[in-house]
């Protein structure tokens, strides 16, 4: 599976709201949820969040796995909490979490990956006051995406090579070459960045 942008083609009204607003709203609502103890209000909010998710016409195929996973975990939580405290409390807790997750997915699935990154970069821009460099952060993020398939390939190649020595399932025999090759890739890429005239600000702080 390749990393792919989750919110690729959503065009609903939610997709048109600025990511900053969506994030802010999500944050406020999440905190508010913990202040609410009335289970009927929580239930209403849960239905509201499901409605938002539905109205945003998100691609539900992408939600299948996460929803199954969260449902099972919450099932366990519900039972444990019910046995330990009382069932109403368990219900409140589960409703809260479900609401939060549905809203979070509504934001994720209606915000383009690039827009999300841009927001993060804005949020992170004060790092320049402590000696960080937002441009470097942006570069690190794109390079990571570029290198994920590369490292998967390295992993497969190393597994294959060790398979021939009967060592494919030896964690040391697979991990050491994987790490060494990653370091070499990094060295060469840094050199290539240099050769292409990439110019980072002189480091203001030592890493």
């Amino acid at each position: 599976m390749e990393p792919r942008m989750i919110a690729a083609n959503n065009t609903s009204y939610l997709a048109r709201i600025k990511p900053g607003w969506k994030f802010g709203a999500l944050l406020v609502l999440s905190i508010a949820l913990y202040l609410i103890t009335n289970w009927t209000v929580l239930l209403a909010l849960f239905i509201f969040s499901a409605a938002i998710l539905l109205s945003a016409r998100v691609d539900f195929k992408q939600l299948r796995l996460p929803l199954i996973s969260i449902t099972i975990i919450l099932g366990v939580v519900f039972i444990l909490l019910g046995l330990q405290t009382d069932w109403l409390n368990a219900l409140r807790s589960v409703l809260r979490l479900l609401t939060m997750c549905l809203l979070a997915y509504a934001v994720s699935l209606t915000t383009k990956f690039e827009a999300m990154l841009e927001l993060f970069q804005q949020v992170a821009s004060p790092v320049r006051f402590i000696g960080g460099n937002p441009a470097q952060i942006a570069l690190a993020l794109s390079m990571t995406i570029r290198f994920i398939p590369e490292l998967k390939k390295v992993y497969t190649e190393v597994r294959e090579a060790q398979h021939a020595r009967g060592l494919a399932n030896n964690p040391l025999a697979v991990t050491v070459p994987l790490v060494i090759r990653s370091l070499k890739i990094a060295d060469e890429t840094a050199e290539a960045l240099d050769a292409r005239g990439y110019d980072s600000e002189p480091a203001k702080r030592r890493f």
Binding site: M1, P3, R4, M5, I6, L26, S30, L65, P66, S69, I70, I72, I73, L74, V77, L80, L81, Q84, A90, R92, S93, L97, M100, C101, A104, Y105, S108, L109, M116, F120, Q136, A140, L141, M143, T144, I145, R146, F147, I148, L151, K152, Y155, P171, L172, T175, V176, V179, I180, S182, A186, D187, A190, E191, D194, Y198, D199, S200, P202, A203, F207
Partner: protein, 192 residues
Amino acid sequence: MSRNPSSSQTKNTVYIAVFAAMIAAMGLLPPITLGIIPVPITLQTLGVMLAGALLGPWRGAMSSLVVVVLAIAGLPLLSGGRGGLGVLLGPTGGYLVGWVFGSLVIGALFKYWVLRRTGNAARFASGLAAVVIGGIGVIYLFGVPWTSVVTGLDLRTSLIGSAAFLPGDVFKAVVTTLVALTVHRSYRGLMS
């Protein structure tokens, strides 16, 4: 030294990206499921531990942070192909925050303690201690209370639940220590 040092910042950025990619790639291997409960027992913690032990505190923590940020931004990088804001707000979100501080602590311990020791036994013992403190202690320190706060379960139950991860994490800690010490022998000066 006549090689024109790639600006050290450029090099750091690339190291961070490559190790972040390694952590992410490790999540693409299928997660183990315990019975019916899909707990994310993931190889990614191996990557988090390695990033700290090999790159040092600052770059190690940045590698973990990059993965967490990309996952929250929506890339399906976490085990089982999950991503998006939900993973942070969900019951295991605290562990993700723990990754960043875990690799930071491992890196600091390696840089200022483990790699200054001599003798194989001493190095291994201190290395393992460092990885266990940072890669298990610190990560659980964030993960366990988070689960408890988010779900409303009490701390004890949350702690007992985290025991499902323990055997795997101890194994990963041993592998990390062996690998890191071997690689540091080949690639000297990684952290200087």
